[in-house]
């Protein structure tokens, strides 16, 4: 065992030999372009015709993204790639420059993202409401309360070990999770010290919205959901909306491009074009109608100027961006 070059050559030759000999079943990898849909190709990231969008599971789960993707890809030929991660993670992907655009719903995190110089050209697109869903029997008795009072009641009932009271949290730093945290804070509890370890009644799912709803349904627990995901899952759930009103439950979706000054590799042009498309009246109309057929009511309400610049929205929803 002395001559390394001979052995190395031998190794390489014989590996090829082995493949030639019998590994036909593993050796014939199909050509990457042979996938039936054109979108299957392994296009390099950052390329001109691929736009990568980090977004929230609540949008993905409603089916809105698939619809937007279908229409936009038909119109422009751009390959939209949605990565559903939850808002916190999506914004982190944007900070790292791993995506070109984020489509999220957590105003505070969004502002931070923009203030830190990573996000540019924010445009709010549409909104709906978060709802607190729970078992029809409403064991904590929160029906007709305002949202903050309702979560305070759930907290008290939970810490008193009231039978049947449980709350399932997303627990994944998503937009919905952030909204939930805001509610606890408004109710007067410190989230990290008082809520997270409050007892067995407080369950952290660590999953997307759909999974969390299914978990809450299995456990007959309360949970905070966006309206869209709840509606698209309603036929598989016994949970009912318990609290569906209140300005605290506003759920606003925004698109923010990743700053090419921070990450030169991102597809800034594509991001700008997509944002501009999202803010056209035709797109907003489409978003406003989405779900009507299937759920009997729209899942999202598009935002128009000047309404969007006023409270409670306080955001920009028009104006061409240039990337």
């Amino acid at each position: 065992m002395k001559t390394p070059t001979t052995l190395l050559t031998a190794g390489i030759i014989t590996i090829l030999l082995i493949f030639a000999l019998g590994a036909g079943c593993t050796g014939t990898a199909p050509d990457g372009n042979a996938t039936p849909t054109a979108t299957g190709t392994a296009a390099p990231g950052g390329g001109g015709n691929v736009l990568r969008i980090a977004t929230t599971t609540s949008l993905e789960n409603t089916g809105l993204l698939a619809e937007l993707e279908r229409v936009y890809e038909n119109e422009t030929g751009m390959d939209l790639q949605f990565i559903a991660q939850g808002t916190g993670q999506s914004i982190d992907s944007g900070r790292r420059g791993d995506v070109d655009l984020v489509l999220v719903h957590a105003p505070e995190l969004e502002q931070q993202f923009i203030d830190d110089g990573f996000g540019i050209d924010p445009r709010c697109i549409a909104y709906n409401y978060f709802i607190i869903v729970g078992p029809e029997s409403d064991p904590a008795g929160i029906a007709n309360m305002d949202p903050v009072e309702a979560v305070r009641t759930i907290y008290l009932a939970g810490t008193n070990n009231t039978a049947g009271v449980a709350f399932v949290s997303r627990g994944d730093n998503s937009g919905t999770h952030n909204q939930e945290k805001v509610l606890w804070e408004q109710a007067g509890y410190d989230y990290d010290t008082q809520v997270v370890d409050a007892g067995a009644w407080y369950v952290e799912a660590g999953k997307g919205m759909g999974d969390t709803l299914i978990l809450a349904n299995e456990q007959q627990a309360y949970t905070l959901s966006d309206e869209g995901t709840y509606l698209s899952f309603a036929d598989r759930l016994e949970l009912v909306p318990v609290i569906a009103e209140g300005a605290e439950l506003l759920n606003r979706y925004s698109a923010i491009a990743v700053n090419p000054a921070q990450h030169p590799g991102v597809n800034a042009e594509g991001a700008a074009e997509f944002i501009n498309w999202l803010t056209t009246n035709e797109t907003k109309e489409m978003i406003g109608n989405f779900g009507t057929e299937e759920f009997g009511k729209p899942l999202f309400t598009p935002l128009y100027a000047p309404e969007c610049t006023e409270p409670p929205f306080n955001c920009t929803c028009t104006g061409e961006v240039t990337g």
């Binding site: 014939t28 199909p30 990231g45 990450h263 590799g265």
Partner: protein, 231 residues
């Protein structure tokens, strides 16, 4: 969807999806096969020669290397996913390749995942050639190169079995492809991640259909494996 048992209905719809060659099902299946086969190919290209070198060379710490490889057989997929994610992310050393959230990145991750398995199994496949056979080869007048070739050719079925096992592990894993691929519809969504997603969306029929296909692939690998091992 509301009426009846969702599992039975899902199963029926799943079979429909497969029988009618639903484009989404076909696309995801082909992508899964493409990514895992390519990863297996590259892993074999790297692991087999190195495995052979480990076997044919006597060096200090050889035993430790082999045991380390065997430990890495069970390398948790999410750990590989995390590490490859950090490597490929824009903040990582290979960010410039822009491979994150692409099939290329998933291939890289699965390649990394199964290299130890292929390497270790190559070493044990070659070790399976007993001493008397090696003596016979030498006695028949084989040069060093001819010896190496004969031993590898003799172990080809065992090596192939290792490659098949590696492919089985690659196509069945969800941890790395979810983290590194991002489960992008039409780009990086593969059988396992599609099952995870569609289950979370309560889209059981599609999940079941993809699950049946994944099982069939695993079964196919096992059949191939037993055919190979019988030789």
């Amino acid at each position: 969807m509301v009426n009846g048992n969702p599992i039975i209905e899902g199963l029926i719809e799943a079979i429909e999806l497969i029988v009618t060659l639903n484009p989404q099902v076909v696309e995801i299946t082909i992508r899964s096969l493409y990514i895992s086969l390519t990863a297996t190919f590259f892993a074999a290209l790297i692991a087999l020669p190195i495995g052979a070198l480990i076997y044919f060379y006597d060096f200090r710490g050889k035993h430790a290397v082999v045991s380390t490889l065997q430990t890495l057989y069970a390398l948790p997929t999410v750990i590989v996913g995390l590490v490859v994610f950090l490597m490929l992310s824009n903040i990582g050393p290979f960010g410039f390749l822009r491979l994150l959230y692409t099939p290329g990145g998933m291939i890289a991750a699965q390649t990394v995942l199964i290299i130890p398995l292929l390497m270790g199994l190559t070493v044990s496949a070659l070790s399976g050639i007993d001493r008397d056979k090696r003596y016979t080869i030498t006695a028949l007048g084989a040069s060093r190169l001819q010896t190496v070739i004969t031993i590898i050719a003799e172990a080809r079925f065992a090596v192939m079995a290792g490659v098949l096992l590696g492919f089985g592990r690659a196509i069945a894993e969800v941890g790395t492809v979810m983290i590194v691929g991002g489960n992008i519809r039409g780009a990086t969504r593969v059988l396992t991640t599609a099952i995870a997603l569609n289950t979370s969306m309560a889209n059981y029929s599609l999940s079941i259909a993809l699950g049946i296909i994944l099982l069939a692939v695993a079964l196919g690998v096992n059949i191939a494996l037993s055919l190979v091992q019988r030789r």
